[in-house]
Symmetry: C2
Subunit: 260 residues, 2 copies
């Protein structure tokens, strides 16, 4: 099973390089209590990764030497956040091991092209819990780029034949419109790939807000895995026990995405 | 060029999990000033890695579940030390990037058997300075084990065709006997593989002290690389400017090991 925790849940969005330690501790406890075997945890960058990656335009690739120190700093920030997450898991008796994506994943034009999965496989086999993250990685075409935790989650789910992908974010799931501005917005509890493709069309025609668009970007990353028969579940990780219930396969508020 | 810094230089030997920050800062400055292109830095674990690895008997491999948390803790301690080293290098304007060996190296019975070198190669190509370290890694036969920075240095030197290996430790080099107990001990400035093999024979017959034996263990790891024509230089990294001079190819007190 693959659990992706959004950067907006484990960091404080508005404060650069500031973790949401309370959320990290609570989520670590939920993960520990769920006792899932063969779990891969992936987390986003939030206020650790995004501001630095944006400042040095890392996603666009290597253009000038001044970006190199930005690459260094972004990686260090992600290491810091990963260390906080892994330390919290160890405190909850989860034998977690941080695994640096840039050390074993290379992309081509921003898409994963090569992944050395022996250490990751061995880690799972022994009974350890790998903790990966969105990272600044090397790219055959761009020199370097940003690899999102969402792309990593979908790719590993397909490569390792995961049973399920759980995406923990800071809202309840996918809505028919933006719930913050539209009181008639409804949570979509269940959606198929075909229905998502229809929505994608609406987005391109700008019928939905930016918030929904950001969420749909994440969902589009997961679609190839869903296409292969791996269901994805989006839940609100900011709400206590949502992640616990999702990991246990219990009833939980959220959006389930299935092939058809 | 490959520079290995011993754990005894960058940590405080007698204090668990305590770095020698003054030495790390000074060495970072020396590395920055030497401006070597295509440098790989590897550091040891010292008081970060060794006490935990020993407590949980990680080198001997996976025997019982209680070791798993020890694997987690050892890895976290090495990440902490690596972060201190990389942060210090960034402060000195070196675009350093930590690279987790356990994410791309797998061993068999303690010896490197598989190494994914694409990210490392790309990193060097772009002009970044990879910073690796001795690590708790996955092993095909043992489950996991400890990979020394010395083995990693020799292996990468051969695989990447390095021009030289510099080994920075806390003494001047290899002595004829233990300089701490024998006032007639002489520093060996130059030694060939054949001369080392003769010394190895004496060691097996216990004619030398434990200190010299520990040093020879390191040297034995480097021998396959020297055999391939890559000279190794042992210098005292605790002495200011030794590493700077060694990196620049200037005259410096130490032991040079050559093929013959």
């Amino acid at each position: 099973m693959i659990l992706k925790l959004g950067g907006s849940v484990i960091t404080q969005k508005e404060k650069p390089l500031t973790a949401n330690l309370k959320a990290i501790e609570r989520l670590s406890r939920e993960i520990s209590e769920a006792k899932v075997s063969h779990l891969i945890l992936i987390h986003g960058g939030g206020s650790f990764g995004h501001p630095l990656a944006k400042q040095y335009a890392l996603k666009e690739g290597y253009k000038e030497k001044s970006q190199l120190v930005g690459f260094s700093k972004t990686r260090q920030a992600m290491e810091t956040l990963n260390k906080l997450v892994v330390d919290a898991l160890i405190r909850q008796n989860v034998a977690a091991v941080g695994l640096q994506p840039s050390a074993f994943v290379v992309t081509s034009s921003g898409r994963i092209s090569s992944i050395e999965q022996q250490p990751l496989g061995k880690l799972l086999e022994i009974g350890l819990v790998p903790v990966l993250y969105g990272d600044a990685v090397f790219d055959f075409d761009l020199g370097f780029t940003i690899l999102s935790g969402d792309q990593l989650a979908a790719h590993l789910a397909m490569q390792l034949g995961a049973s399920r992908i759980i995406l923990g974010i800071d809202v309840d799931g996918l809505y028919t419109s933006d719930p913050k501005s539209d009181p008639s917005a409804k949570l979509i509890r269940h959606v198929t790939l075909q229905e998502l493709r229809n929505m994608q069309h609406e987005i391109e025609e700008a019928k939905v807000t930016d918030v929904t668009r950001g969420m749909l970007g994440k969902i589009l990353e997961l679609m190839p895995a869903v296409e292969k028969g791996i269901p994805a579940l989006i839940v609100n990780a900011a709400k206590p026990n949502s992640i616990y219930r999702a990991l246990k396969g219990e009833e939980v508020t959220g959006t389930t995405i299935v092939k058809g």
